[in-house]
């Protein structure tokens, strides 16, 4: 008898396992295990739902960048108080629980779910019925102040918050109420229609001292219909003219959808840099959450811009901006925020701070906050940089231009011949030194509790909870009875370990995305 037996050969997996985390099933949203793996110089999340199978999504197009970014970490700062106890584990205990690793430096209060646009990229679920009451708003503001003491920023969002009937009353409470002075900047997330079309509103907005956090996705016709559902280019440009005319401090917020407006990243950045009123630009690669985002693309897992891709596109499209200028913001998880600060020189060119400051000091100055503040760490960083540059510079070289520009800035800012209030100093600093942020929200495909645990961008609810943004958007928003009165509250349902074992199948089966 001639029996030929092939020797069994053990096979390597096609990807290197890097770390273990928890995520959710994109279909049923149940909490499941997830692996972060490396393959072909890219990073992927792989996960398996007992009911819906295997999922894989690319989370970083540059493995080297990703692995290096994990070293950008600082001990988080705890809030003054937590709202929930640890009972079921992340992400089931949100609010913030005692295991959350960071305080909230970028809180959001959604004051309505009413909007006159139905954006295909919208990450929320507007039901056009909810308007926060003044009492609820006060409770929310009181909650976040009790947890944080002081805040660099507070963002009012919606819906479209400018459509709220008590919009200015809410703003007045923040700016002049019992917590006056504790919130440095009040930002209003808006599409800009009321600023563009209602002069009285725009003037009152300016007088109130608020910042416009303006959705601004494109500089050309034809893009807004795809991602906002209607052509808005004329309105956006009119809004920009009003912002310039009234000198309204502004944050430009482009939502970037791969293939739709990702070719405009460089142009959008240059546009913002050229405006004195723009203090920062916050680029948000689109996340597939919400009533819009859920259905935006037939293959959400494949339709995404990872952080290194955004860096690369900006480098390619500007020609002068290097991807290395971006660094993860140490206050959050490195995959959530990257940033750079650009200083405008006397000849109108911009030089990134990381090009001439000590990078360790730079990261320290950025630690545990979203904005650079004029504190001792920043002063020491600038003084050391100036001294270093001065000691090595030669007349006529770029170092000398930077030094002359810094001196010019200091002389016009801290000079008794032209005394400025602290707010005026901040505005001058913002006009001269602009921040570029990339803020990557997560959706059900790439949700990673490791990132959630260090989230510093949270929704403040009137019931006293402070919910990490991506946790709320993916797991709690559709159960929030303010928007969905009939919804069942979220009941934490950790996946039983035994059922997980039974359900394990071979990789590649199931709903490969």
């Amino acid at each position: 008898m001639n029996i030929s037996t092939q020797p069994q050969v053990k096979k390597d997996r096609d990807a290197s396992f890097l770390s273990y985390t928890r995520s959710i099933c994109p279909v049923c949203k149940r909490s499941i295990d997830a692996h972060i793996v490396l393959r072909a110089d890219k990073i992927f999340m792989q996960k398996r739902c007992p009911a819906h199978g295997f999922f894989e999504v690319e989370t970083s197009s540059d493995a080297e960048y990703y692995i290096n970014s994990l070293t950008y970490t600082k001990p988080g700062t705890m809030p003054l108080q937590f709202a929930t106890k640890v009972e079921h584990g992340c992400p089931a205990d949100c609010g913030l629980c005692e295991e959350h690793q960071q305080h909230t430096c970028s809180p959001i209060i959604e004051i309505n779910d009413v909007c006159d646009l139905t954006c295909p990229v919208c990450i929320v679920r507007n039901q056009q019925r909810y308007s926060m009451t003044f009492d609820e708003f006060k409770r929310a503001v009181d909650t976040i102040i009790a947890a944080e003491g002081e805040l660099p920023i507070l963002l009012l969002s919606g819906g479209e918050p400018t459509l709220h009937k008590e919009f200015f009353e809410f703003c007045d409470y923040v700016m002049h109420g019992p917590h006056a002075g504790k919130i440095k900047r009040l930002l209003i997330s808006t599409h800009g229609r009321k600023i563009a079309n209602n002069r009285e509103f725009a003037e009152r907005f300016k007088a109130g001292g608020m910042y416009a956090s303006l959705q601004f996705d494109s500089l050309k016709a034809g893009v807004y219909p795809k991602i906002r559902g209607v052509e808005l280019i004329d309105m956006k440009m009119k809004c920009i003219e009003v912002i310039k005319e009234l000198d309204i401090p502004t944050v430009l917020v482009p939502t970037v959808s791969k293939g739709d407006n990702s070719d405009e990243l460089g142009a959008l950045m240059e546009f913002g840099l050229a405006m004195d009123q723009v203090s920062s630009i916050v680029i948000q690669p689109m996340a597939h959450t919400g009533d819009g985002g859920d259905f935006y693309h037939k293959s959400p897992a494949g339709h995404r811009l990872t952080m290194p891709e955004v860096h690369q596109l900006i480098e390619e499209q500007t020609g002068w901006f290097k991807r290395s200028y971006f660094h993860p913001v140490p206050c959050s998880h490195p995959s959530c925020y990257t940033a750079t600060y650009l200083f405008r020189m006397n000849d109108s060119r911009y030089v990134p701070l990381p090009e001439f400051v000590n990078i360790r000091q730079y990261l320290d100055a950025m630690a545990n906050r979203t904005l650079l503040r004029t504190d001792s760490a920043l002063e020491k960083m600038l003084l050391d940089s100036i001294t270093q540059l001065w000691s090595t510079s030669k007349v006529g070289d770029d170092s000398q231009v930077i030094l002359d520009s810094l001196k010019h800035f200091l002389k016009e800012t801290f000079n008794s011949r032209n005394p400025l209030s602290y707010d005026e100093v901040e505005r001058k600093a913002e006009a001269r030194c602009k921040a570029i942020f990339i803020h990557a929200f997560m959706d059900a495909w790439d949700l990673d509790v490791t990132r959630l645990k260090k989230c510093c961008t949270s929704y403040v609810l009137p019931d006293g909870r402070i919910m990490p943004g991506c946790s709320y958007n993916n797991l709690y928003r559709h159960k929030d009875r303010r928007f969905f009165p009939m919804a069942e509250p979220v009941t934490p349902q950790p996946v039983p370990f035994k059922s997980m074992l039974k359900a394990v199948k071979t990789e590649g089966e199931g709903n490969q995305a």
Partner: protein, 251 residues
């Protein structure tokens, strides 16, 4: 006018009277019965506010616009006061500027610009005022200095140097003109509302108030109270001193 005030009948010249600290000094002087002349340059509405504060006490007041960096200006303003009121009893050198730039970026022009007002103008004003004070064998000069003039604190080097120079002038001049009945003193001011506070970054102000035994910055009138006493006839033995007025921050 307050006939029995600390400074009743005194003829006083305060430089930089339209600024926050200057107004506080002028106001207390007026309250104590002095005729107050002050110089200002640049901000007419602030000048009007100081003038109104002085006249509120029924006192005669002179507001003189002058760029004290111009060499002839010192003699001109002193003469103007002397001609109108028949003499000058007290000179308060308060006008000063500051800018927050690090040492390595300070160039000759920045230094000259700042020293011109903070030191040379004070020097020239002292000289112009002393001619009459020596003749009348009586006078008081109060120079407004800064805690930066004598202590190692964060602050622009050229500003600290100008205040150090002013304090040197105060001590030596006190020795030289004391025999003629003229007392020269300086007040090393901490951080006060108004004044040069705008040149001090917020975190430095916080460090100051954290270290201050009274946990606050000073009010201009509080500086005025000390200056009023130094300028008065009640001060008969304090000369050549630099008095720290900082709420116990560095004392």
């Amino acid at each position: 006018m307050k006939a029995d005030g600390l400074l009743a009948g005194k003829r006083i010249l305060v430089t930089g009277g339209s600024g926050g600290l200057g107004r506080g000094i002028c106001e207390v002087m007026a309250r104590e019965g002095a005729q107050v002349a002050f110089t200002w340059n640049g901000n007419a509405s602030n000048c009007a506010a100081t003038e109104a504060a002085v006249r509120r006490y029924g006192n005669d007041c002179m507001a003189m616009q002058a760029d004290l960096c111009e060499p002839m200006a010192a003699g001109r303003v002193v003469t103007e006061v002397e001609q109108k009121w028949g003499g000058l009893d007290v000179l308060v050198n308060n006008a000063a500027i500051s800018e927050s730039i690090p040492f390595v970026l300070i160039e000759d022009g920045d230094l000259e610009d700042l020293m011109e007002l903070n030191f040379f103008a004070a020097f020239r004003l002292c000289k112009a005022a002393l001619r009459g004070m020596i003749r009348q064998k009586n006078g008081r000069i109060v120079n407004i200095s800064s805690i930066a003039g004598a202590r190692t604190i964060p602050g622009p080097v050229h500003y600290a140097a100008s205040k150090g120079a002013l304090e040197g002038l105060t001590r030596s001049l006190a020795h030289e003109v004391g025999p003629y009945g003229i007392l020269v003193n300086a007040v090393a001011a901490g951080i006060f509302e108004g004044g040069l506070r705008s040149t001090i970054p917020e975190h430095h102000q916080k460090r100051y108030t954290d270290a201050c035994s009274l946990s606050r910055i000073g009010q201009p009138a509080e500086c005025g109270e000390l200056v009023a006493w130094l300028a008065s006839s009640r001060n008969t033995y304090m000369n050549g001193s630099v008095l720290f007025l900082d709420g116990g921050t560095l004392a």
